[in-house]
Symmetry: C2
Subunit: 254 residues, 2 copies
């Protein structure tokens, strides 16, 4: 495999009892996944773990060893249940230190707010030693970058801002391209076609996603490839096949 | 620890490239988590893995060994990318067989539909040997129960029906009770209070979930316990503390 064919991957550790209790619906998996695709990096695995140091350490160490990048979301706020910095420091075998620039940011941010930069807020200036800051334009507390590990907020719109700040700074491969074809057909009627078309296009994967809408069944077929020509050819053959079976199809999906 | 204090836990493996690509927003984590809580079972960890046999096997075997129960969602449909049954059979070291009752269900379901029970649809009657069926009233294909392993659909409303069919059939402990107190305060102003109240109530955990709404910051404080008295006492002390610091609070959350 040549360097240009390397597949870049990332792992994601979603940290927080609120996700595991069902109280909060996670929005970061989809957001991080979509952003990574544009950077040419594939999200290879996600683990959702509780606010427990050992479980965070285990997930971080497993996924950072397996992938080019490791992201975490959640647990970098000011309260007692925010333990991500401590866990990642333990995983990396480094101490936790106060980052002078983070402290300065927080001092400015809280200068005119009741309570000022109190002890709890100062927790948000703590980083695993060697960590650099990821800007956060939404609130005071920055994210943290250390080697191939990226610590992001749990609140989705703050995470979005941090991802935006990182855009274009990570080395990746060719972005994964996708094209969708929708069809009002039960996927089980065209399963053989899907398997054969995928088999004939080794650079492509086809995902089949059924739905029930307006009292009818249908499916979207998503073709994925890093090769634009292979993708077009695969989509073309798939559409031809659907037509030959007598099914109307909708380019772009339903 | 007495038998009545045992904490029952479950792991969840979410299977599917469509979640890892960001194309589909997962709804099953929150749905399974909330349902488990009512059964007195705690969701201890979630792993989202791609449509790759080895990754599914690894996640299933790790999480089923660690927990009382193991659930999977996704990959039990009729198409080539539906490989959950094969992966779980491999994880459990049993062959894949056609379940006669599942076959009968599918024969009935597809009797009046174009194509009838074709080869692809018959895939949905395959189970790891020894598997029992979980009824699916929404579409033909059943879920599968085998020991402490439960294979559910990926489509959330079908999963909901399968969970419904399982309600009350799993042994669990005391359900985790929660009470929420909302407050228009930056969580960093009351972080010390939260930590001290939690410390004083060892049977309770307090989660702090900040938000930005209507141009103001606030937070919901979620107190969790399996002990109703401890929960009430903790909420009472928390509210008193918020009042003493001069903050109005909203029982039930904001």
């Amino acid at each position: 495999m040549s360097a240009s064919e390397k597949i870049w991957t990332a792992g994601l550790v979603v940290i927080g009892d609120e996700i595991l209790s069902g109280r909060t619906h996670d929005k970061n998996i989809a957001q991080v996944a979509s952003w990574l695709q544009v950077q040419g990096i594939r999200l290879a695995e996600v683990r959702v773990v509780p606010d427990v140091i050992e479980r965070i350490v285990e997930a971080v160490n497993t996924l950072r060893a397996r992938n080019d990048y490791l992201f975490t979301t959640g647990g970098i706020g000011p309260t007692h249940d925010d333990i991500t910095v401590d866990a990642v420091a333990e995983a990396l075998g480094v101490p936790v230190v106060i980052h002078p620039q983070a402290r300065a940011i927080l001092e400015r941010y809280y200068a005119d707010k009741p309570g000022g930069l109190n002890e709890a807020r100062l927790r948000m200036a703590r980083v695993p030693e060697g960590g650099e800051l990821i800007p956060n334009r939404m609130s005071g507390a920055p994210g943290i970058k250390l080697g191939n590990v990226f610590l992001m907020a749990g609140v989705p719109h703050i995470t979005a801002g941090m991802l935006d700040a990182l855009t274009g700074t990570l080395e990746g491969g060719a972005p994964l391209l996708t094209e969708t074809v929708g069809c009002w057909v039960p996927e089980s009627e065209v399963a053989t076609l899907l398997r054969e078309v995928e088999k004939a296009h080794e650079k492509c994967q086809i995902g089949s996603y059924p739905f029930f809408r307006e009292g009818r069944v249908g499916a979207n077929f998503v073709v994925r490839s890093t090769d634009a020509d292979a993708l077009q050819s695969c989509v073309h053959v798939l559409c031809e096949g659907l037509g030959e079976l007598g099914h109307d199809f909708t380019p772009g999906g339903i």
